[in-house]
């Protein structure tokens, strides 16, 4: 019983981290029609930033905020000075994000070395929480809470603010939005910053669970891809639901059939593609 409770919580925590990653990916895709393949690398960069920031700033949450801002800034610069030059050339943009992903991964290897770097759990959350006689790791509960909070904030941002309305207008019909005087190019930079910042902060928040190691990008990117394929491209709700589905499938896959966990990831993907190619909540046929 205890074992299954822990596995459930692990699934939820992984789902939460995936949501931080996939929400940005999905937003960027929805608005800019770019499959941003740097997203895994930005997550890893965030985790490594976290290890360095924590040497001077002792608080994990503050570190996540600083690291997220730093990664977001880098993402914004990349969008403004590289991707912008390739406006309209979608395949070119994707290939550039791929190239930058390789560069970032190698830079991390040069700067932080090849050994995994742990990120300590905040002392306040090291004691397990006891609910109904079962012990739950407090930190993982906190991750789930944060993911849900971020989800609610993003939802409010998209549905209740002027910025969100502009983004939605851009997603629905970019040319018409531009004709109405919405600064779509600035919107692109904003959304790219936001997506990169979420990924970077996710890397640090995920640090106490996954730590920072070379190859973290390659581990996270396919999961995020499968999440957005499952949830539907450009859909926030889809990213949320997809993240937790994949969190469960992957965690229980690893627990029950450790050798074939990756094959099990196929199943939800194939089912969705067979019966609903645009994803569970997607607006576009991909």
């Amino acid at each position: 019983m205890q074992y299954w409770a822990i596995q459930t919580l692990n699934s939820l925590a992984l789902g939460g981290l995936l949501f931080l990653l996939a929400a940005g990916f999905s937003l960027i895709f929805g608005l800019m029609r770019i499959a941003n393949l740097t997203h895994g690398a930005l997550y890893m960069l965030g985790a490594y930033f976290g290890t360095s920031i924590l040497k001077t700033v002792p608080n994990l949450w503050l570190a996540a905020l600083i690291g997220g801002l730093a990664v977001g800034l880098l993402g914004g610069l990349f969008e403004k000075f590289v991707l912008r030059r390739l406006g309209g050339n979608i395949l070119g943009q994707v290939l550039v994000t791929l190239g930058v992903a390789f560069i970032l991964a190698d830079v991390c290897l040069v700067v932080w070395g090849g050994d995994p770097l742990p990120i300590p759990t905040p002392p306040a959350l090291q004691q397990p929480v006891r609910i109904a006689g079962l012990a739950f790791p407090a930190y993982r509960l906190a991750v789930v809470v944060i993911a849900v909070l971020v989800g609610i904030l993003l939802y409010l941002l998209m549905e209740r603010t002027r910025l969100g309305a502009m983004i939605r207008a851009g997603v629905d019909d970019m040319e018409m939005a531009r004709a109405c005087g919405i600064p779509v190019s600035r919107l692109f930079t904003t959304v790219f910053c936001l997506g990169a910042a979420l990924a970077g902060a996710g890397g640090i928040i995920g640090g106490p669970i996954m730590s920072a190691y070379p190859g973290l990008d390659a581990d996270m990117l396919p999961l995020a891809l499968i999440v957005v394929i499952l949830g539907g491209l450009g859909s926030l709700v889809g990213a949320f639901v997809g993240s937790f589905v994949i969190g469960f499938v992957y965690t229980f896959g690893v627990a029950l059939l450790p050798d074939l966990a990756y094959v099990i990831l196929f199943l939800p993907m194939i089912l969705v593609i067979a019966f609903r190619p645009r994803g569970l909540f997607g607006k576009f046929a991909a």
């Binding site: 770019i34 560069i103 040069v110 050798d259 990831l265």
Partner: protein, 307 residues
């Protein structure tokens, strides 16, 4: 006529390589051939079908793993393992095509990437089967091709036949309809062509040739590691196609040579191949999006019109 002479000279030069170069360069040339088949098979999808695949390493990797596994686990020889590898990858391409071709464009790219990453993760984690990060030792080369020169001629022959068959494919009426689906899928559909079927057949054909390159790969290296299934490997193939010029027969061959030379020379001095590959990717996309072969051809035409 002029073309024929050009091909003749190229053929003579390739046949002559082992006579005037050392073993290092002979082996490097063999690797370029293997990589050229891989890149050419990506070019079928990207260049002629307009389908950007980022998961083609799956076919190379599986076709390399199958003979290694059949040899190690069941002790089967080449006469069974080689056809099994090619048949297996072709069958896999049939199945993956059904999934990936639910989408085109970026959706297709993401689906192919996700599918190949699943295989990569499986190869890395299914330690009892694939020995994970240690990789697998492959069987000895067939036909006693153990020295560099005889393997070179073997690879040259296979590559020549492969490239020729792929060139025939795109020059055929079917290839013309394929390029039609790339440029005007709706019109092709209105003209009564089954666009999806054309793409699927091409996907399977490209998967088969990816498998051929994988078979040569395991014969050459006698070793296979999950990295061959990784995104980096798919990206290298894609880079070769784009660097050389997608949608041309010569492009992927030139691109494969450039990428392989770069990789071998640079890795000899610094260990930063991935970073360099990333930079080359960015530079080519930003400054030379059409690739080397069309770029040089355009310069040549301009040069001729001046003189």
């Amino acid at each position: 006529m002029k073309r024929g002479i050009g091909y003749g000279i190229a053929a003579l030069a390739l046949v002559g390589v082992p006579f005037f170069s050392g073993e290092y360069y002979i082996n490097l040339a063999s690797q370029i051939f293997i990589f050229a088949i891989f890149a050419a098979s990506i070019n079928l999808l990207l260049g002629y079908g307009g389908l950007p695949t980022l998961g083609h390493a799956a076919y190379l990797g599986v076709a390399a793993y199958v003979p290694a596994l059949l040899h190690l686990k069941l002790g089967l020889g080449h006469w069974i393992s080689a056809p099994a590898a090619l048949f297996g990858t072709t069958l896999m391409a049939c199945a993956f095509g059904l999934i990936a071709l639910r989408a085109t464009g970026l959706g297709f790219l993401m689906l192919t990437l996700a599918l190949s990453q699943v295989l990569w993760g499986t190869a890395l984690r299914w330690v009892s089967m694939t020995d994970g990060d240690n990789g697998l030792r492959g069987p000895a080369r067939p036909f006693n091709l153990d020295d560099a020169t005889s393997f070179y001629y073997f690879a040259l022959a296979v590559t020549a036949v492969s490239i020729w068959l792929m060139a025939r494919f795109v020059a055929s009426p079917f290839g013309a309809t394929l390029q039609g689906t790339r440029d005007q899928p709706r019109r092709m559909s209105a003209l009564g062509h089954d666009v999806w079927m054309i793409r699927w057949v091409t996907f399977i054909y490209a998967g088969f040739w990816g498998g051929v390159s994988g078979l040569l790969f395991i014969y050459y290296h006698k070793y296979i590691h999950p990295v061959s299934l990784s995104l980096a490997n798919s990206a290298e193939g894609l880079l070769a196609v784009i660097a050389g010029g997608s949608g041309t027969v010569a492009g992927p061959i030139v691109g494969a040579a450039v990428v392989m030379l770069l990789k071998n020379y640079v890795s000899a001095y610094v260990e930063r191949w991935n970073m360099l590959m990333g930079f080359v990717f960015v530079l080519i996309v930003v400054f030379m999006p059409e690739g080397l072969v069309p770029g040089v051809r355009r310069l040549w035409r301009r040069f001729r019109s001046v003189t």
